[in-house]
Symmetry: C2
Subunit: 341 residues, 2 copies
DNA sequence: CAGTTATACGAAAACGGTTTCGTGTTAATA
DNA sequence: TATTAACACGAAACCGTTTTCGTATAACTG
């Protein structure tokens, strides 16, 4: 087992001081060509690499960014994460992920763990429970300590920081408009309990589109399902007892499940009933029929978030007046078999 | 902006030495009750938390584990990751993820970045390219430095370390046997190019099952598709030109796509043709019909990997004779609509 | 030749902790 | 009363870097 070599080792072997070695390896002008070459050759031979931890301690920069998301087994978060990771890696940053599991407590614990020097900044999407509790003290603490924070998708207005969102309301509006243009009259909305920020925005887009096109809102066509629903009774019953010719769903899974109900009921998609879902994930692409879906461009969102965060981290030095931005990623409608024919 | 408080600050404020503060906060017997209470109260008031980086440097333990996977937008890896993260978090470890993107070079770079002190050990699944190249020097370097390593799923025999796999061959055998018992005669295999370790094992299970049941292998019923296949011509043609009554697919996506071909061709599932896929992911659960699938229990696999790694990390102190294990996770067949009726 | 200036390097502090060891004070023991 | 032990704390080394500053030597200047 060959242990990692340190500056001290090199210094002793070559009979120079640690500072000389350090400078030589950084190609400092202060050191003579001869000495530099000797030291660099030796370092290369023994494959010297500086110890990240020591460098971090000295520089007060870890080159790590902390990502806290509610769930990792979730296509959208996963694509966002990919965007973050790619951008960050290209800039020499590593990513530490913590999963809050939609739990407030875990979110708090994770943040605290990471905030004690492990990372230079946070990127996160709030857990469902946090949004429900409306308690953001952990975020406040972090920002007050001067740790940069970027929120994405599941955000809050209570905290002053950089944010990245998609234009949920307009996207929903656009989707509903597409259905209306397609001559659909009775458009249902399948959504979650309303504490989820994004669901609400999407619902608002739905309402607005109906209103603008003179279609009265029929509350009986709105179904709220628990976020993690497993049993199907409720949604099945909904389809058995309502008449509709189109469905907008705030996520993929609800849409897929409901397409199934419709099919079992003997309806043809899209002839009798059209479906549009949110989150253009793997299910939309591979469902049968393929689901028309609002693409959230998670990867782009992640890249943007990482860009904003790293920007803040690296400009922090100058410590100018803090100014925060909210970037909006434009959602796009991917049309597939569940609407057109 | 209130900066983090350090031992030194506390020491100065309370007019004691740094060592006294450090000991007091650890509730050391060496310090008097009075002093301890004073210090602890002060620390609590100012919300003192030790700096992780400093502790890491001193202890030569980061409490971070590095995870390197080929792809994060992939249900299986994602579930494994969840298992790792949960187990690790419960033990006070954080997880740094790097994505190799199936690229050898990225895998190497990522490992090197992390190996310089950032992590206490690695958990990884090899990239496709690494398996293709058969070059494992980066792994060797790491293990030679005494950094614990656990490989999962995409492993190699060339490296001596802990490993976690599923019984791919037996699982495939079991799946095929199920089809045979179900009176299927012409069973196709849809697989990837063979450099992927796991595909090969699954194919071997397929061959073995056919052989044991006296069914001759018909090479024309074996379709090899590129790992990331986008166009559908090849698979569609396969279904147009072959007669078969069952399909085993080494992954979910291939199975789902092929079910679609079969349906379009007018075949009824499972009456005319049965399907079994590998990787019981989200597609299997939500496809129509729902896909019978070999569950790989990713989360369990991740937890086991994390358990093995952390075990090694924390026992490293004793530095006994190195002994490596390979744990096998038992795959199970989840029967759904694509086989039974 | 005295004084200045490069040149090339080393000593030491610093980052924020942990830990070993030494020591002054007080209390217990002989 | 002298000796020892217990107690409570501080000094300092250490982890592996970076960086500032000081300085010996040699070379140059007037």
């Amino acid at each position: 087992m060959k242990k990692k070599i340190t500056l001290k080792n090199i210094a002793r072997e070559l009979d120079v001081s640690i500072s000389t070695v350090s400078k030589a390896l950084k190609n400092s002008e202060e050191i003579s060509r001869d000495t530099k070459e000797r030291i660099q050759a030796f370092a290369k031979l023994y494959n010297y690499k500086p110890n990240n931890i020591a460098v971090s301690l000295k520089n007060k920069r870890t080159k790590n960014i902390g990502v806290i998301i509610p769930d990792i087994v979730h296509h959208f978060f996963t694509t966002v994460f990919r965007g973050i990771e790619k951008y960050a890696n290209d800039r020499g940053y590593n990513v530490i992920v913590c999963v809050s599991d939609e739990s407030f407590d875990k979110e708090v614990i994770n943040m605290e763990m990471l905030a004690n020097g492990s990372i230079d900044g946070f990127i996160m999407a709030l857990s469902a429970e946090t949004q429900l509790k409306n308690d953001f003290n952990h975020l406040k603490e972090v920002t007050e300590q001067g740790i940069p924070l970027v929120l994405f998708d599941r955000i809050t207005d209570e905290i002053n920081c950089d944010k990245v969102v998609i234009n949920d309301k307009q996207a929903a509006y656009m989707a509903v408009k597409k259905l209306i243009d397609n001559n659909r009259k009775r458009i249902a909305l399948i959504t979650t309990e309303s504490y989820l920020n994004v669901s609400e925005k999407r619902a608002n887009g739905y309402y607005a589109a109906l209103k603008d096109h003179g279609i009265p809102v029929d509350e009986s066509l709105i179904l709220k399902l628990p976020y993690q629903f497993e049993e199907e009774e409720e949604s099945a019953k909904f389809f058995d007892t309502r008449e509709m010719d189109a469905v907008l769903s705030v996520n993929e899974i609800f849409a897929i499940r409901c397409m199934r109900h419709a099919t079992l009921k003997g309806l043809r998609i899209p002839e009798d009933i059209a479906f549009i879902g949110f989150t253009d994930g793997i299910l939309s692409k591979f469902s049968n029929p393929r689901l028309t879906s609002v693409a959230q461009h998670g990867e782009q969102m992640g890249a943007k978030a990482a860009e904003m965060l790293i920007g803040k981290i690296e400009s922090d030095m100058e410590e100018g007046e803090e100014t925060y931005r909210t970037e909006v990623i434009e959602a796009t409608l991917i049309e597939r078999e569940s609407t057109v024919n």
